[in-house]
Symmetry: C2
Subunit: 428 residues, 2 copies
């Protein structure tokens, strides 16, 4: 029989008892940020559950202060046995057959916070960045994305660099400008260079783009000089979020030789508020693509798996009533797996820390409608999209981009909610 909660959860909800994603929230203005878990239209306040002594398993009974923190980093540092214990405690506590929380009105009042904000500002729940991000890395793991970008920028002969099939290419991103879903994105200014012999110009970006990505949140991490084995790498990943790696294509194209993307990316990166754990995603695992050539031994996995996560990107222009779907993709299209990414990241001895963020890179699939950014969808502005009759080459001020993702279970979804951001003009 399917697991069921005493909290009513709509069948279309992303947050049934099978999911239980982690976030950080303020129940109202001025209150202290604290960890929470989403279920249906509620957040379980984990600081209240901890204060009530209900994290009473062998690990967390001694470490429940990790739920009295303004971010999840301490909990992440505890590692997989603690994560399993927390999930099992919460699934039991929330199940329809367990009276502890169900029949305790006072505790329910304290611990269950409605996720849908009330109309009044006084009662507004605020979702915050769930982690303090020490370092943010962005990979480039979709072959279709690599091929399309290479064709657009360097032509159809050998669009994918030779190294791409041997290692999961990545660059260090900017941690300070990672923001939570719902934060406005200010159009960046910078240099562009439209043609070979003209001088560069300066101004607001003319080629502002979204990138549909997901990102892994790192758990315990590793010491400097001690790589993580690819077959143990899954124990170092707590879960996944949706990510929009906003990109200014004109700035990026001019600056990126020879040291890679910098200001074309660092003005903002949006993540969704809820971290869906690998444990909740496990029923949706699937085989990763066969890799040819065979990866070097340090990247060769006993079992190479992806997840079947349906992903969509929508654009909602200013004043429009509805958004238009522009991308329909799936996490399973990634060529390099999360575990290969993490093992590669540490093979030189580089240390990962709890809360580090590893972006997958834009997740494009083989079909044109699965391309994960406007650069690919409009072929660098040559083929404008139609959004309910309005043309789009790149993002305009007022455009809101909404990314969603979910796994389809039997009678329920394990979903990520949304990752959204609206473009606003530069400050004067």
């Amino acid at each position: 029989m399917a697991l069921k909660s005493f909290i009513e959860v709509h069948p279309d909800s992303h947050f049934p008892i099978q999911n239980l994603p982690y976030g950080v929230f303020r129940p109202g203005p001025g209150s202290t940020p604290r960890p929470g878990v989403a279920i249906g239209d509620y957040v379980i306040d984990l600081s209240e559950i901890a204060s009530a002594g209900l994290f009473d398993g062998p690990i967390l009974k001694n470490f429940s202060d990790c739920f009295h923190q303004p971010n999840l980093n301490k909990f992440l540092a505890l590692g997989k046995p603690a994560w399993k214990e927390a999930r099992s405690t919460l699934q039991k506590l929330l199940s329809s057959t367990e009276p502890t929380l169900r029949d305790n009105a006072i505790l329910r009042e304290k611990a269950l916070v409605p996720l849908i904000p009330f109309a009044t500002a006084q009662n507004k729940i605020e979702l915050l960045l769930p982690i303090a991000i020490g370092d943010y890395t962005d990979f480039f793991s979709s072959m279709h994305h690599a091929k399309n970008c290479g064709t657009i920028f360097r032509g159809p002969e050998n669009p994918i660099p030779q190294n791409w099939f041997h290692l999961p290419i990545a660059y260090h991103g900017r941690a300070s400008s990672v923001v939570i879903s719902g934060t406005d994105i200010i159009r960046p200014r910078g240099q562009g260079h439209p043609s070979k012999n003209s001088p560069p110009y300066f101004g607001p970006s003319l080629k502002l783009d979204y990138e549909l990505e997901m990102a892994a949140v790192v758990g315990p991490g590793n010491e400097l000089g001690r790589p993580v084995d690819v077959n143990e790498a899954a124990d170092h990943i707590f879960g996944l979020v949706l990510m929009n790696d906003w990109s200014a294509r004109d700035i990026q194209a001019w600056e990126y030789v020879p040291l890679g993307p910098f200001l074309g990316k660092s003005f903002g990166t949006t993540i969704s508020p809820w971290i869906v754990t690998l444990e909740a995603l496990e029923p949706f695992s699937c085989d990763a693509p066969v890799q040819d050539p065979n990866p070097l031994p340090y990247l060769a996995e006993k079992k190479s798996q992806n997840y079947d996560i349906s992903l969509e990107a929508h654009i909602k222009p200013a004043g429009a009533k509805d958004s238009s779907v522009v991308t329909r993709s799936n996490f399973k299209h990634l060529y390099w797996t999360l575990t290969q990414q993490l093992a590669h990241h540490t093979i030189n001895g580089c240390n990962l820390r709890p809360g580090d963020l590893l972006g997958t890179g834009t997740i494009s699939g083989p079909e044109p409608e699965s391309y994960g950014c406007l650069l690919e969808l409009t072929w660098n502005g040559q083929k404008p999209l139609s959004l309910n009759g309005t043309g789009r080459k790149f993002l305009e001020d007022g455009d809101e981009v909404i990314i969603t993702g979910y796994c389809k279970g039997n009678g329920y979804n394990v979903g990520f909610g949304t990752c959204s951001g609206k473009i606003v003009p530069p400050l004067p």
Copy 2:
């Protein structure tokens, strides 16, 4: 008359009363990390000065808890007026004519910690990373370095990319692996690709290199979306450290297309423990090179200045009695100034935070002996160096690289001490 301290300072010392660089230290094993200022062979424990109520100026009397912290970030966040006040308070307190500290034996005993470690482990002072680094960025601001690297990797025709003269090129670095001087550097493993048609190999790097750099430590920072004006950028820089941006040239050459350096750099970056303030460096400012073409208006400075800082890199092979000087360079060779770097970094709205680190890139000058890394000095291994009779193409296990730097004043130096690290083999 020259400013003089009651603490005797050798004329060759890097740390006279004119300098007063900031660091963080533990007076002995197990004690709490705390901020300090170096003078001669001593560290002034700023937590003791604060506890004694001696930071009594208008700003710091209310904020002296910034000296009861395990890093300098809170002090950095206070900004330039607080930094000026602290320097003026400390210069007065340490001057030969001021009795407050000079004649108070009990306070002197508490606040003056010998910098030269005692022989016994129990009394050993430990210097720590002075800042919690949110983000580390590395620029590429020496024209000579850009030209040499471009010639080696891409040939003598157009060795410097067209964009280089229009903007200070940079990449995001890895913050987690920035370590304090004296930390061993573990030789990274990774993929190399010696020739076009062979498959990549895997193993310990065969082309391990140092890079002589300096780095700016960011002060108050800026909000997302609010760029810092180039003419106000100096107020956002607290001071400078020496930096060694260790580089594995074989890993870097294979991985860096198209997204830039990643594992070729992220195994370790060493900084010196003492941050020399811009205020202490001001007497050594000099004109920056004339820039042609003129930079775009957002990079055009009313006054474009560098600093006259003599820099050296030494290599001391395992078992050798002495080190050999391999680089003699100078900070003044940089084409792009620190303030242009910082203004460019924020022009897209990217937010900087207190404690962020901005590396200059390798500081090479025009003469061959001023080249700041082995890649340039040995022309990618083609012309080995001689270290007291021992040949060197790249770094070998046991090699210690020591970077030093100082400004020559009239009868005193304002110096940076040393930034050192020894190469050790990968862990089994």
